[in-house]
C-alpha cells in the first residue's frame, strides 16, 4: 500500500486487533485506544429510546399544531404565484433564477453531489492540518484566485446571492493572515483545515440561497422583505 504505513498495536488490553492508518506527511502516531466501554444495554439503548420518543413527541406536537399544506386541486391552466417548491429545493430554485436550467438544474447540483461523493478520495480532505499550519502563502494565493474566478463568473450572471457567502467565508479564511486580528481568533481559525473551509463554503451557499428562497421571494419571484410583505 503506497502512501500508508502499517502499524500494529500489540497490546490487546488497550486496543482490539485493528489496523491503524497513518496519513502520509504526518508523524506516525499510535491509533488512539478505544477508550472505556460499557454494555450497550441499557446505556446506549435507553438513550436511543428516549431520543426516539423525543423525536416522535416533537413531530406529534408539530402535526397537532400545523396542518400539512394542501392547496387547491391541481389545475394545469393556472400556475400559482409564486410557485415555490419544497423548502429544501428553494436553493436550487433560486439558482434557476440566475442560470439556465442546464447549469442550475443539472451542472451545479451534479457537481455538488460529485464533490460530496469524492470527499474521502481527495488528498486535501485527508489533511487534518490547519490551513495556516504549513505552506499557507502559496495556497492562500490559489484559494484567492479561485474565489475571484467564482465571484467573477457569478457577477456575470448577476448572481449576487452566490457571491455574498463566498466572500464571507473567504473573509474568515483570510482573517488569520491579518496581524491586527486578535491572537486567539487567529489561532482558532488558523487550525481549520482547507477541507473544512470548502465544506463550510458549500453549506453557507446552500443555507443562504435556501433562506433567500424561503423568506425573500414573493410573487413573480421578486425580492420582498418578509416583515413588510409577509411570507409567501
Amino acid at each position: 500500500m503506497k502512501g500508508y504505513e502499517l502499524q500494529k498495536d500489540n497490546n490487546p488490553k488497550t486496543t482490539p486487533k485493528r489496523v491503524a492508518l497513518i496519513v502520509r506527511g504526518q508523524s506516525a502516531r499510535r491509533v488512539e485506544d478505544r477508550g472505556e466501554t460499557v454494555p450497550t444495554a441499557p446505556n446506549l439503548l435507553l438513550r436511543e429510546i428516549v431520543i426516539i420518543q423525543a423525536c416522535i413527541i416533537l413531530l406529534a406536537v408539530m402535526a397537532l399544531l400545523f396542518d400539512a399544506p394542501l392547496e387547491g386541486i391541481a389545475d394545469p391552466r393556472h400556475t400559482p404565484n409564486p410557485a415555490k417548491a419544497a423548502w429544501y429545493f428553494l436553493g436550487l430554485q433560486e439558482l434557476l433564477h440566475y442560470f439556465p436550467p442546464v447549469v442550475a438544474g443539472v451542472l451545479l447540483p451534479g457537481l455538488a453531489v460529485l464533490g460530496l461523493a469524492v470527499v474521502p478520495f481527495v488528498r486535501v480532505n485527508w489533511e487534518t492540518v490547519g490551513f495556516y499550519e504549513q505552506r499557507w502563502r502559496g495556497r492562500l494565493l490559489w484559494v484567492s484566485l479561485a474565489v475571484a474566478l467564482t465571484c467573477g463568473v457569478m457577477a456575470l450572471y448577476l448572481a449576487w446571492p452566490v457571491i455574498v457567502p463566498t466572500l464571507v467565508v473567504y473573509g474568515l479564511l483570510v482573517l488569520p493572515a491579518i496581524p491586527a486580528v486578535p491572537e486567539r481568533l487567529r489561532a482558532r481559525l488558523g487550525r481549520v483545515p482547507l477541507a473544512d473551509w470548502i465544506m463550510t463554503w458549500f453549506v453557507a451557499e446552500t443555507v443562504f440561497l435556501t433562506l433567500i428562497g424561503i423568506l425573500f421571494r414573493g410573487p413573480g419571484w421578486s425580492w420582498i422583505w418578509p416583515w413588510r410583505a409577509g411570507l409567501y
Binding site: P42, N43, V50, Q53, I56, A60, G72
Partner: protein, 670 residues
C-alpha cells in the same frame, strides 16, 4: 461504578418521563378525532327531535340516531360527495321550518327530495361538500376557492343546468339573462353556450339619411339622457372621440336598400288623420309615449327630433327592410296612411328647445379615419354593423367560466375596499369598471340595484362546472316556426313577438296561439284579425291594429282553425244544441255555487276583473269553455281565474249556460 449507577438512574428517569409524555401526546389526536365538530351538532339534533317528538315512535327514532357521517354520494357525477346533511339533518324533514339553522327544513323549491339525492347540495350552494367542519364546509378555508354562495345569488345555480334564456320559477336569473342580452354584453364578451342571443342594435349605415349629427352627438354623450330606456350603455366618450365617431358614421355611403329619398321635409300630410291612425294602430302597446307602453319597443316621445321624415316614412312602409330582426310588425299602411302618420309623429313627438338642425355637415376625412379606429377599439362593432367594418370582433375577455372563478385569481386592481369575493367583484366591475384601472374600456350600464343583482346572478351561472348531459336543460328548442304562406304572414305581422306558439315566441300577450283553433270561432277570429277589439279592458298591452286585408285574415283564420287544435279540448260539446235544463242548472252554478259574477260581467251585470262574458259565445267555442272551467291554469300557469275543482258535469252545464246566455240564438253547430 456508582457514577455509572447514578447515570443509569438518570437515564431511567428520562425514560419514564419521556414515555409518559409520549403517551400523553399520542392521545391528543384520537381525542380530537372523537370530539369532532359534527358530533355536537348531531347530538343537538337528536335532542331537538326528542323535544319535538310527538309519539313513542318518534322518541325511539330520535334515540336511535347514531353519531356518524352522512353524505349524498353521486358516483356518476365526478364522484361528488356532499356531507352537508351530516349537520344539516333537517333539510329533508318536514315540519322543521321554524327551527334555527343548521337543522331547518329546506325551503320549497321546484326541486324536491329525490332531486336533492340526485344533485347534492354543493352544486347549488357551493362550499366544500366533503368537509365535515363548519368553516371548511362553508368554504371559508384558504385552500378552497368556492365559498358558500350568498343567499341573494343562489338562483344563479339554477342557470348552471337550465341553459335557456328563461329559467322557470327563477325570475332573478331570467331577468339577469335578459339584461345580459338586451345590454349587448355579448358584443364585447364571449359567452359560452349563449350564441342564440339576439342583438337589437341597429345597423349604422345610412345614418346621414336617418338623423342628424346633433342627435348622434347627444346620444353618444350619454344615451340614457336621451331616453331612460336606452339599451346602449354609457361609453364615457370625450368630445373629440364623439366628433370622430360622427365623422366616421357620416362618411359611410348611403344605404343601398330601401330609398329614403323623395318625400323630404315637406309639410304634406293630415295631422289629425295621422293621430287617428297612431291611436287605432295601438302603437303605444309597445312603444312608450307619455310613460305608457310596455317598453318592448323604443320610446317615441322625441322621435321627431331624432329622425328625418323621409326615413320615418320609409321605415313605416317597410320596417323589415331596415331591421330584419326587429320585432316591429309590418303594418299594412297605404301611402297616404304613412304620409299622415309621419306628419303627425314629426310634429307631435319633438324635443322642445332643441337647436336648429345643422344641415350642411361635411365629415372631416381624418377625423373619420380616427373614428373608424375608435369604432373598433371601443367595441362599437361588436353590436352595430356598418359597411367597411368587420363585425363580431369581441374586444373584451371571454367570460367562459367566470361564475366559478376563484376569488384569488381575480384582479382587484385599485379596489382595496371590496370584500374579496366573486359576487362583489362582479358587481363592482359592472358598476364602476374604471375604478379598477383607469384605462378599462368597459362602458357603464344604467342599472339599478335590482338589475345589478340580476346581472351578477346571471354571470355567476356562467360556470364551467361539468354537468351530466342528462341533467342539462338546454335552451328551449325554438318551436318549429310556422311554414308556408301562414309562416310568411306570421313573420310579416310578427305575431310571435307577442304570442306564444308551442312554447316559442314572446310573452307580451296572455293568449298563446297553440290551441287557438279549438278555442275561438273561425268567423270571430277573421274579424278580429282585421279589426281587433278589446277583450280584457284591464290589460294595457292590447292587440295592435295591423290592417290585415280580408283575404289574409281569412286565410290565417282557416289555418288556425284547422292546425292549431288541441285534441284534449272537445270539438263539439252540444251537438244538438244546449239543453234547457243544462242552462238552468248552469245558471245556478254560475251565480250560487261558483260565484263567477264577482269577476265576470254577464247579462250586463257582474264584476269587471275578468273578461266580459257578454257575447262570449260568439268568440269562444263551448268545448273550450268546458275545458277551461276544469282547470284554467292548464292553459297558462299564471291565469288568475281560480281553479275551483269544477267537476265535469258542472263544467258542462256552466259552459251551456254561458253559451246560451252570452250568445242567444247561436247554434253550437259544426
Amino acid at each position: 461504578m456508582l457514577n455509572e449507577k447514578e447515570s443509569s438512574n438518570r437515564l431511567w428517569r428520562w425514560f419514564g418521563v419521556s414515555s409518559v409524555l409520549f403517551l400523553v401526546v399520542m392521545a391528543i389526536s384520537p381525542l380530537k378525532d372523537y370530539f369532532r365538530e359534527y358530533r355536537d351538532y348531531q347530538k343537538a339534533y337528536a335532542d331537538l327531535l326528542l323535544d319535538r317528538a310527538g309519539s313513542r315512535k318518534e322518541v325511539e327514532e330520535a334515540k336511535a340516531l347514531a353519531v356518524e357521517i352522512r353524505q349524498i354520494w353521486i358516483p356518476d357525477w365526478n364522484n361528488r360527495v356532499d356531507r352537508c346533511i351530516t349537520c344539516h339533518q333537517g333539510v329533508d324533514r318536514q315540519g322543521m321550518e321554524d327551527v334555527a339553522q343548521p337543522f331547518r327544513s329546506h325551503p320549497d323549491t321546484p326541486h324536491s327530495g329525490d332531486d336533492f339525492q340526485a344533485f347534492g347540495c354543493v352544486i347549488c350552494h357551493r362550499g366544500q361538500g366533503r368537509a365535515t367542519t363548519v368553516a371548511d364546509a362553508h368554504g371559508d378555508s384558504e385552500d378552497w376557492d368556492s365559498p358558500l354562495l350568498p343567499a341573494a345569488y343562489v338562483e344563479s345555480s339554477c342557470g348552471i343546468c337550465h341553459l335557456g334564456k328563461v329559467v322557470p320559477e327563477a325570475s332573478m336569473i331570467t331577468e339577469g339573462r335578459r339584461l345580459l342580452e338586451s345590454s349587448g354584453c355579448f358584443g364585447c364578451h364571449d359567452f359560452p353556450g349563449q350564441r342564440d342571443w339576439i342583438g337589437t342594435a341597429p345597423r349604422l349605415d345610412g345614418l346621414a339619411e336617418k338623423t342628424t349629427p346633433r342627435w348622434v352627438r347627444a346620444w353618444l354623450r350619454r344615451p340614457a339622457d336621451w331616453s331612460a330606456e336606452a339599451a346602449m350603455p354609457d361609453f364615457r366618450l370625450a368630445d373629440d372621440e364623439i366628433d370622430a365617431l360622427v365623422a366616421f358614421l357620416w362618411s359611410r355611403p348611403p344605404l343601398n336598400g330601401p330609398g329614403v329619398t323623395g318625400i323630404g321635409e315637406s309639410s304634406q300630410g293630415d295631422y289629425d288623420r295621422g293621430r287617428k291612425i297612431f291611436r287605432e294602430s295601438r302603437c303605444i302597446s309597445c312603444h312608450t309615449v307619455d310613460g305608457k307602453g310596455n317598453g318592448s319597443a323604443p320610446e317615441l316621445e322625441k322621435i321627431g327630433s331624432k329622425v328625418s321624415r323621409g326615413w320615418l316614412m320609409a321605415y313605416l312602409s317597410d320596417p323589415h327592410a331596415f331591421q330584419p330582426e326587429t320585432a316591429m310588425p309590418q303594418f299594412q299602411f297605404t301611402g297616404n296612411d304613412v304620409l299622415d302618420l309621419s306628419a303627425y309623429m314629426m310634429e307631435e313627438f319633438i324635443e322642445f328647445g332643441a337647436e336648429a338642425q345643422d344641415d350642411a355637415y361635411k365629415p372631416d376625412p381624418r377625423a373619420a379615419e380616427e373614428g373608424q379606429k375608435l369604432f373598433v377599439n371601443r367595441g362599437c362593432s361588436g353590436c352595430h354593423a356598418v359597411q367597411g367594418v368587420e363585425q363580431g370582433m369581441r374586444i373584451g375577455p371571454a367570460l367562459t367560466g367566470i361564475g366559478g372563478k376563484p376569488a384569488g385569481m381575480l384582479d382587484f386592481g385599485k379596489r382595496d375596499d371590496l370584500p374579496r369575493t366573486l359576487p362583489d367583484w362582479l358587481r363592482a366591475k359592472i358598476a364602476e369598471p374604471d375604478s379598477f384601472r383607469p384605462d378599462l374600456k368597459m362602458p357603464r350600464f344604467e342599472f339599478d340595484d335590482k338589475d345589478f343583482e340580476a346581472v351578477v346572478t346571471a354571470l355567476l351561472a356562467v360556470s364551467d362546472e361539468e354537468i351530466p348531459p342528462a341533467l342539462l336543460i338546454r335552451a328551449e328548442p325554438p318551436g318549429e316556426p310556422p311554414a308556408g304562406r301562414f309562416g310568411r304572414l306570421v313573420s310579416r305581422y310578427r305575431c310571435l313577438a307577442c304570442h306564444q306558439v308551442n312554447g316559442a315566441g314572446g310573452d307580451i300577450s296572455t293568449a298563446p296561439l297553440t290551441a287557438e283553433g279549438s278555442k275561438v270561432r273561425r268567423e270571430w277570429l277573421e274579424q278580429y284579425l282585421m279589426l281587433p277589439t278589446t277583450i280584457r279592458p284591464l290589460l294595457t298591452d292590447r292587440m295592435i291594429h295591423l290592417r290585415i286585408p280580408q283575404e289574409e285574415a281569412s286565410f290565417m283564420a282557416d289555418y288556425m282553425e284547422n292546425v292549431y287544435v288541441d285534441d284534449a279540448i272537445p270539438e263539439l260539446l252540444f251537438p244538438d244544441g244546449v239543453p234547457p235544463e243544462s242552462v238552468e242548472r248552469g245558471r245556478k252554478l254560475f251565480y250560487e255555487r261558483y260565484g263567477c259574477q264577482s269577476c265576470h260581467m254577464i247579462d250586463n251585470q257582474g264584476g269587471y276583473y275578468g273578461p266580459i262574458l257578454n257575447g262570449l259565445g260568439a268568440r269562444l267555442k263551448p268545448g273550450w269553455t268546458f275545458w277551461w272551467l276544469q282547470g284554467p291554469q292548464r292553459w297558462r300557469a299564471d291565469v288568475r281565474c281560480p281553479d275551483q275543482g269544477i267537476p265535469t258535469e258542472d263544467a258542462t252545464d256552466l259552459a251551456g249556460f254561458i253559451e246560451a246566455v252570452s250568445n242567444p240564438g247561436m247554434e253550437d253547430a259544426p
